[in-house]
């Protein structure tokens, strides 16, 4: 480097150090400016506060299902028949693409609570009404790309990689749940 001789003379190294520190400081400042903008895109406080939904289970007869809205997404609440429960529990987990026992997916065996969004690409599977297509396993069937879910909401056949997600929920009484 031809500049080396110059750099050795007084003044030059201090300027370089100064420039480095100033540049670093300015870079930190620019980074700090970026953060509030990114954070403003995250869910706002009122959006987060609204993140619970209460569902009254009393009117849901055995074999029926309701769809409720939670965080802008459909949540399936299904009152399962003894036959459906038995089917779900009879399957060995080794036969499943995404192994999970039925017991691990419900809090009370009659009530199955799921986020009604296909884990493939986000469509809403059909099967909430008895007349809907429910797929080969009697649960739900996603019409977009042909994923079949069983009566525990587990993926059995098709392109979806995971079982239908179970949202966080709790029984606030025998006939009420709070999702979120």
């Amino acid at each position: 480097m031809a500049d080396t001789a110059h750099a050795a003379t007084d003044g030059a190294p201090r300027r370089d150090f100064l420039k480095l520190v100033t540049g670093a400081f300015a870079a930190v400042g620019v980074g700090a400016i970026a953060w509030p903008f990114i954070a403003s895109l995250q869910p706002a406080k009122d959006t987060l506060a609204l993140a619970t939904t209460d569902v009254d289970l009393a009117p849901i007869a055995e074999g029926q299902a309701v769809t409720v809205m939670w965080r802008g997404k459909p949540v399936f609440v299904r009152s399962r028949t003894p036959k459906e429960i038995q089917e779900a529990r009879a399957v060995p987990t080794s036969a499943l693409p995404d192994p999970a026992t039925d017991q691990s997916r419900v809090q009370r065996e009659q009530w199955l609570v799921l986020i009604g969004i296909c884990t493939h690409l986000g469509c809403v599977p059909s099967g909430q009404r008895a007349t809907d297509a429910r797929g080969e396993y009697g649960g739900w069937f996603c019409p977009c790309h042909g994923s079949h879910y069983d009566t525990s909401g587990r993926i059995r056949k098709g392109p979806a990689p995971r079982n239908l997600d179970v949202p966080q929920y709790a029984f606030t009484s025998d006939t009420k749940i709070r999702i979120g």
């Binding site: 003044g11 300027r15 420039k19 619970t52």
Partner: protein, 255 residues
Amino acid sequence: MLRFSFKALALALGLFATAPAHAAGEAIPIPDRKFSFDGIFGTYDRASAQRGFQVYKEVCAACHGLRLVSYRNLRELGLTEAQVAAIAAQFEIKDGPNDEGQMFERPGRPADRFRSPFPNDAAARAANNGALPPDLSVMTKARAGGADYLFALLTGYVDPPPGVTVMDGMHYNKYFPGNQIAMGPVLNPDQVEYADGTKATIEQMAHDVSTFLQWAAEPELEKRRAMGVKVIIFLTILAGLTYAVKRKIWADVKH
């Protein structure tokens, strides 16, 4: 004090010329009340704000809404989650429609906004002799003088000077523009019973509720100032560094 140096700066920039417009109106000057949130480093006195919330809830809320504030926001005043949930549950919030298509009332949740006392402005006027009690959510930002003005107004009820007749249903107030206000002197000594044993004088209640409403209007104030101090310190250092670099670069240029 530092707050005033910013105003002095603005004066130097020739901007202060606009300020008189903001103080427009014939009301007499608002006395400066000492609040915990005055100045650059001021913060909200939580105990005072909580008492102020009690005054709002037991006195003001009969007529004035606070529709932009949510019950959950009370957590910021130091209330626990359970306290907030209990407060929210005292109010019946309109919700719906339910599965039958009907609107229904349910107990409030922390996520709900404060329930307004009247369903709409027309109902509010009808119940108040044609006067509209304004919503208080941003009141300190919406009045010149802010919290100082609120305090002055609440403690400014005096007998009208001789020769002034107060219209029917109006009240004389030293600090209200035009002096005749529809709102009566609502605060009376010991009107509320403070849980912490503070004596509920008119002045105390007015001070507390002004603090509470200042918080309601500018809940971000503490965060804003804290961040501002950091930003200005950072920028001052950066200014020094940048100036040093500039000096160095320009050292060999003859002017």
